[in-house]
Symmetry: D2
Subunit: 370 residues, 4 copies
């Protein structure tokens, strides 16, 4: 149970609605002694903040995080860490007039069927605003990864049909900088220009586009992930499909692997110059049997085009129930939700890996290393 909790050891519970007083997260299971910087959390939050980017939604939230518990003298204590982000720029009035409308691509119908009640203001609990709490929690997971020497990066690899080239993962620091400075979080500058044009076009049309995010994790120790239902890729898939608007997941060669032969797809084992076991290709994407091999872990996640568009659409009004009519939506929305999802994909990846790192402490009778 606990459908608002992610993770088995490093457990993150998020709470809050789009137009309630605040959203936030409680992290239970973070080891004691981890140095946490509030500034670092806020930096992560800024990267997903609405209003920060001319290509994304004009909602302007300062998104400053408070830490309510779990820290003492700058370090985690082993007690639950509570992160709180107030909702300041939430204007609910515009939703009043459309509260009986089933908005195409939105969750109000399915929530109403499930709960018999729906906080229609800005999507309520189903709003992507909830993901800000994930990004804040992800910043703490990243602090844990940093201690272990693991680096991660997510970026837009395709948008509105424009495909960027796969970047070099050799220098992840530089890659991260290139992603951060791109308004579309795309490290391929040529593709980025075309993506921006595409967004501007659909924005003018009152329409939206989809995109694909790729993420990579480097320097993972071999042995992360758990067998059967706790496979690293199973946890990653669940994490990614839990992000609003995501429609899929593939690891390594993914769907393309279905078109390969075994002799092509099998990554041959080899020894590197220091005698460590490696694979000379990496179609697997960094795991075998659901457990990390030490090779780069990489995967892709497609995002549908933003559901909220200004174009006329057909819909149903719950009151009248007979005459579908136009959706007069005036809200503040992103023409491409995939851009906004980049920090969320990175945060969820961090959560999955932090969890797997801690789970790995349990696998052997005696530890060789810590």
């Amino acid at each position: 149970m606990g459908f608002n909790t992610f993770g088995t050891i490093f457990q993150v519970t998020t709470f809050g609605e789009s137009h309630g007083p605040a959203i936030g997260a409680v992290i239970d299971g973070c080891p004691a002694g981890l140095p946490i910087s509030l500034e670092e959390i806020n930096r992560e939050l800024r990267s997903r903040r609405p209003g920060h980017n001319p290509l994304t939604s004009p909602r302007n939230e300062s998104d400053l995080c408070q830490i309510l518990s779990g820290l003492f003298e700058g370090k985690t204590t082993g007690a639950p860490i509570t992160l709180l982000i107030e909702n300041k720029d939430a204007d609910s009035s515009q939703y009043e007039s459309i509260k009986h409308l089933l908005r195409p691509g939105h969750a109000n119908f399915s929530y109403l069927e499930k709960y018999g009640i729906f906080d229609y203001r800005g999507g309520g609990r189903a709003s992507a605003r909830e993901t800000a709490a994930r990004v804040a929690a992800g910043a703490i997971a990243k602090a844990l990864l940093t201690v272990e020497g693991i680096e991660i990066c997510a970026y837009v690899t395709e948008l509105g049909g424009v495909r960027g080239e796969r970047p070099d993962w050799g220098n992840l620091g530089e890659l991260k900088t290139r992603v951060q400075v791109s308004p579309v979080f795309c490290p391929d500058p040529k593709a980025a220009i075309l993506m921006i044009q595409e967004i501007e076009t659909v924005k003018e049309e009152g329409d939206s586009v989809g995109g694909i995010i790729e993420a990579v994790a480097l320097h993972l120790p071999a042995g992360l992930g758990d067998p059967i239902y706790g496979k690293l890729e199973a946890n990653l898939a669940a994490a990614m499909l839990s992000i609003p608007a995501s429609k899929g997941f593939e690891i390594g060669a993914g769907f393309a692997s279905a078109r390969m032969k075994g002799s092509e797809h099998n990554d041959p084992f080899a020894l590197d110059s220091e005698g460590r076991v490696i694979t000379s290709t990496n179609f697997a994407g960094g795991t075998l049997g659901g457990i990390s091999t030490g090779q780069p872990l990489y995967f892709q996640v497609p995002f549908k085009p933003t559901s909220s568009i200004k174009k006329r659409q057909m819909s149903v009004d719950l009151n009248q129930e007979v005459s579908p009519f136009q959706l007069p939506l005036q809200g503040r929305h992103d023409p491409c939700i995939a851009i906004r999802a980049v920090p969320v994909v990175e945060a969820m990846l961090a959560l999955v890996l932090a969890d797997a790192l801690l789970a790995n402490r349990l696998s052997k009778l005696k530890f060789s290393t810590v």
Copy 2:
């Protein structure tokens, strides 16, 4: 924790290794009063049984299931249901000579790194043999779905690059029959012929091919699935990526949705002739906000080509550690694991839906229906 357990309410724990005395499953959380037929479980098991199909592995297991607990006078009692399948045709001797070899595409290296120990006989716990226990458990989940009027079907939609046409879901009974009679579990007879040719070719070459499985669920009530981390597609994605050799997941339009515009992809709401809310298209694939809409739920899962091939491959021997050499594999293996995965995809789908059905009993203060 509990990495060998799937589900939050309808919980299935599987156990057993490829070459141990038995595999099995314990189901905890099945409501009392559900009629269970052992014959039905065994029928499901036969459909994934090795040796049953000339195109799959020659391992010949009778795969008869025993029910050790949880039934009384043919009905579930609310107590845990234990299913046991003995391993009878397990020949471990052939694995002795390759026990120090890291088999490309297999999990022995990552398991060794994780556990410091590995039951190398036939893949041990990482073997696809474990999925027989899932199929048996899935038969019980299917009994629950049947009571609720829900129908499901999985089939091969692509194999070795050959793509079948999407079948008509209008008559699921007929579709299931067509899938069952096809040696490649493909309901498109023309594509099936080409797929069979493809398999025979790679078999002769000592190679293997990948494939894609599609699955559909009909007559789901609206409101199934849970918010945030318990989204129906998140649970399905985790379920599918937990199947050995699967490399991805997509729901509805999936990766293709990333190339669509919002005005194309948004499924307009409408009313059917009886005044019920429907959507006139279904690019979403049956959920909105992670919760079912009542439209058909459908998704695809790619499977890599079987890792065990007869062709020469490069590898590493753990003893010598310096000279990679050929893998002299003589075992019994499938040229296309995707075929064998069809009943497993169906079983995992049944488990996810049974769990969601039970979780739905908890969402409202008062029930309107039961």
Copy 3:
């Protein structure tokens, strides 16, 4: 995992330290549609509030609760409910001088051994202040019990060796009033006078006393609770032993049952005037096989005397490590923690029953009632 979470369906996660900015709770799993009154939550909080009672600690917290999420138009929505209580009267300065002292009966030594770090201010996470969050969450569980017609009450039955008479449970409304008006939460007025005298005596001596709390739940349906490890009494025992300073638990005749014969202790089944199955005695305390019988559920919980006393005690200073010396404690503390624990026992009982009520929706294939 999730050691700060209680419950399997109605899950309460508490957070916060004694001297941090706030404490609170997130409730995940409460059904949608439950009317919640903030005033009711605050009323519950007042009954455990320090400074409210001359016989308890002088710490003066207004303990007003805010609801940050999960409510819409006065009803629960199915989303997580977040309750926040600010810490306003926390004075940490007094703890500075004793931060290296191992305080007898306190958790600083064991926490330090576990975490290598300890927020020594007022007991940090180990402080009884955390129980305010439980009381707030318990108020929401009580709202659920009220809908189902279940009534509960906890009270002091023994204090400093003075034993009160077991009250009549026939009129629970009146009993609750008598408990609320007693400064020692004891419904037996004669015993209460002696208890007050006992507290005043030990207070003057700079000492403290222990006590025993009894609790009862009426109008439970038969069938609540789960088999084996989810027995109602197992969950209650865990709940009660999770309260700071509690040292035990007994249900029904409890320890005394060990001195009875089967022919005495077995509660004979009978039929009431309306033909319903009852038992003519109730030594069992309301359950059989861990599942409710419909008879009154009752149990007792002993609390040790408050650890913080003004008397001279031997201890160890972590800095010097050789010379134990006197603990110069000036803080604000209760001479009898058992009194303060009464609302907490009631809250934990409410949480256990709310959880069991929801779990009961899962036990049968079809519901006869809802």
Copy 4:
């Protein structure tokens, strides 16, 4: 959920009914590399076996355990360990005639109300037979404790009103031997004689008696147990109250602590000859704030008299529903269930400690020891 599973990391799921083909346990979360001896498991099982002791039930089960999974070359692999015990001496015929009778002190009424169905043969899932699976699983937990140098022992301390003296815990090996050779598992030989007389008396009367079990764990490291809801005593209390017929739990001074003053009950901290922190008394019973102090952990558990007696009792027949009549019980039953519960208490203690040991690996950023 998972009401048939105990533990958060070292998770034991038991299955099986009294008169089904088998009972057993699946252990998920045991670290790889632990040597397991089947003979040791069977030795544990013999100590709780019916028919082994003239003072207990004449049911004669060989209770030999099979290990179906999770072991390779004598060591655990990290995969789930499955233990199976066949039911061989189960005679269901005698239950046919009383299948509509509500047996006083038994769970058939409450199970029927919960599930609408009940496997009446020998108590079905509610039978104490299930505890054999716990004892088998406990043997594996004990192997883990042994590696860590932790010793545990449980024994009868009171029976039918006869109280034994608390034994010396200094030599636990000798104590365990004295417990094993006593027909009533009581290490005080004088008390044991009186206890045996008491049992023989009630047996002749067709009646039964209750008893109290005490258990102790030595050489626990400080820091075991988790805060708030994962307190060592909360987990122990849940474990003990999950055992059939147990009616309570107390740790350390327990209920007696409610009659002590703080100056008496507080255990003063001191330093031992090697400079380690100890407490000079141990009324707390080995924990502070729910976390172990390194002092002996000890607790008591009362058991009600066996419910199945030969004396005439009043009851209700579900068919006739009007005329209560005599229960003509002919089954094989124990005059004192507390004796049979000794190995079960020990097993559950082992499970709680194994779980806490593993959880402790997660508390700090870096390990000082492993």
